[in-house]
Subunit: 475 residues, 2 copies
Amino acid sequence: MSVETMTQPLRHTDPGLSQRIAESALARDGGVMRDNQFWQWLRERRQHQLQRVTRVPFAELRDWRFRPDTGNLCHSSGRFFSVEGLRVSTDFGPVSKWTQPIINQPEIGILGIAVREIDGVLHFLMQAKIEPGNINGVQLAPTVQATKSNYTRVHRGAAVPYLETFRDPPPDRVITDVLQSEQGAWFYRKRNRNMVVEVGPEIEAGEDFCWLTLGQLYRLLRVDNLVSMDARTVLSCLPYIPSVGTHKPLGAAIARSADWSTGGLCTTSEILSWITARQTAQELTVLPIPLREVDGWRCDPWAISHELGLYFSVIAVQVESNRREVTKWSQPLLAPCGLGMVAFLVKRFEGVLHVLVNARVEPGYMDTVELAPTVQATPSNYVHLAPENRPPFLDVVLCSRPEQILFDVELAEEGGRFHHAQCRYVIVEVDDDFPEQVRPEFRWMTLHQLSRLLMHSHYLNVQARTLVACLRGLA
Amino acid sequence: MSVETMTQPLRHTDPGLSQRIAESALARDGGVMRDNQFWQWLRERRQHQLQRVTRVPFAELRDWRFRPDTGNLCHSSGRFFSVEGLRVSTDFGPVSKWTQPIINQPEIGILGIAVREIDGVLHFLMQAKIEPGNINGVQLAPTVQATKSNYTRVHRGAAVPYLETFRDPPPDRVITDVLQSEQGAWFYRKRNRNMVVEVGPEIEAGEDFCWLTLGQLYRLLRVDNLVSMDARTVLSCLPYIPSVGTHKPLGAAIARSADWSTGGLCTTSEILSWITARQTAQELTVLPIPLREVDGWRCDPWAISHELGLYFSVIAVQVESNRREVTKWSQPLLAPCGLGMVAFLVKRFEGVLHVLVNARVEPGYMDTVELAPTVQATPSNYVHLAPENRPPFLDVVLCSRPEQILFDVELAEEGGRFHHAQCRYVIVEVDDDFPEQVRPEFRWMTLHQLSRLLMHSHYLNVQARTLVACLRGLA
């Protein structure tokens, strides 16, 4: 080969990138937009983005109908998403066979955050975005959040701002680009493309957008219902190295946990082998079925609900908004019953923080198992089951003392599909006598091990990804 | 936390392991079993393992029947596997919609090789194993090859030797443990657990087994139809670092390609982003359907075949064997039409060998896309299509000059499911003027980048895994 035919030298992944991300995380008091400016801007956005959400019976849904052959609730275009049925049998958990409604959304959407270096610090372009299911209207969302139906404009609405940044970016500007799953109890094999792309000064913040440092975002994660689920999952997929310079023992334990040169209780190949064993051990058979064949659920003109009032309902809403691609539409939403509890138990081993991770089976995952928080449960769904079927470690979280609680915030799940879906996200540091050896479906992992897995699809579920982002913010 | 509660120090993955594997690869002339002993042993195994395979009409299958409701061909236990139908629509390839028969085998089997250090060198415990679909009877297989139906002994046959080595091994003895897919055109979401486990002197070779070095195995890969598909896929998942000390330019280019400190034309994060983009770009909808609803295929008493005589047939055989867990049984087999062509195009860039990899859609994959060889096609399946639909680069392979061909061997696919399925596996070094920029569904990757992906499930398809093992053997 002559040297002349080479157009591109051989390259490694940019070693300075992690450092630049760490520096952005250190800018906790803000960059170009100071904190007081941010709150002022958010207040204005909340005043400007108006939305009226009215619950309606299914019969008043425009462009949505129950298909006569299957009973599935579908959009007339055949696009967006549909509510269908699922038949599940598994040897995991207290219930071995059931049917349920589930959202089928085969399209892969884009969740993208643009980052730009301003005054030498990386800033993240965040969007003030209202969604019909949000309990409080506007939340802080990624720069772009678009399904294929959105960006191919099936709804014939306005174009999605900044979309082109994520459609075909120059390869060396892409910081994160990975498919990740969403709630496997509510979605059938849904995943989104989580992207972070670096841009130049040609990209400026429109009026619903603002540039924030990673340090600011980490602090805003501690505010109830502010940083959206979509923003949290994208942030969790950032390549992460710890901020240096902290002298607090907890921050140092987190930084050591995130450092690639630190070992763990298990090696990475032991973790991968354990995941393989869990994928193999657990039987799960999942079959999409017509919604009309779902047992134990009843459909009335206003809702599809479980006959014991558990889990969730499917409802219908009409939405009027002054800020979306389309200003008036109606759609189904999934309304969970009860407040979810999502918690990491963490413990320091040799001064290195470890997270207790659960290999969890959910019927809507692409594969059988994904790694989940130590506890992920809606306590009210367990009231009809025997006490021995209560989720492991739930009572450890509920009975933890205040000084053990490192993080405790109510965060909202995706308001475009879920109605007022919230979970309490908690990080609890367990006592010294908490056992190192635990049940076979749990393992202690370092933050670095979790971050490595986050470069790949479908290892960590969406709840665990939120907690990884929150934990990094504690460093 | 008090130090007393610690039972296990924090650990890294064993840094000496790769070196020990590399040393085994250098032992090309054999370890405890010299080459002439091996051939003698194999000859004896072929004389001792007797099998008679007789083609029969479906009506003579024992314990198998077409289910009256679906037409699916199933075992009476409901276990093993079944032949069902699949409805596919995709925007990839020349045909956008079709139905086809497919093998559904939801159980995850174990493909395991035991390794043991003998006289300071790692040896691999290989099995002489006969399968009904093998063109030549006995091939060289992993130590254990067992579906769950086998090892839970649904067939009430003899126990599987060495199975316990792989059932619950000590975590620090596991070298490889990863789920990998098999042929996505013939299997629906089938995958097996590829395992390599280190054992001690308590494990000895039974009469159908022998200890071989990795260097011996690499040389045996160059023999037609000797190393089985299952053995090849397990070998490909070994953590690999190159043998040092070669002075030949090709060997040095392969060694540099496998070295973690060498860069590539694309960075690893660019490769991951490209894979994400291909998963997203390509639409694939796959729906299991009853076999009786498959169009374009006809079922007669002896075969289910495509009406143009293309692709494959499903046939039935009766087997008598003196060496399997069960000595007499009957089963369906999938008989492909025509010889497959599987090829890597490789090229040196700055003295580093790169492999041209294809992001390929097959309906039976867990996800839409897996990385495949540059060419993977059965040329006779394309005769009815327009010339522009010939697979890309097929003619580059077919027209390559002898001095460009680094590897050219006929290897057999899994003889437990496929009847006389063979492919010609070829590695061709392209000329200097072959373009670096290629179609969007192809990328040049280093052997190190491929090896890193092989630590995870479902990145490389089974044909690419075979070629990775073969390419390493050329170093």
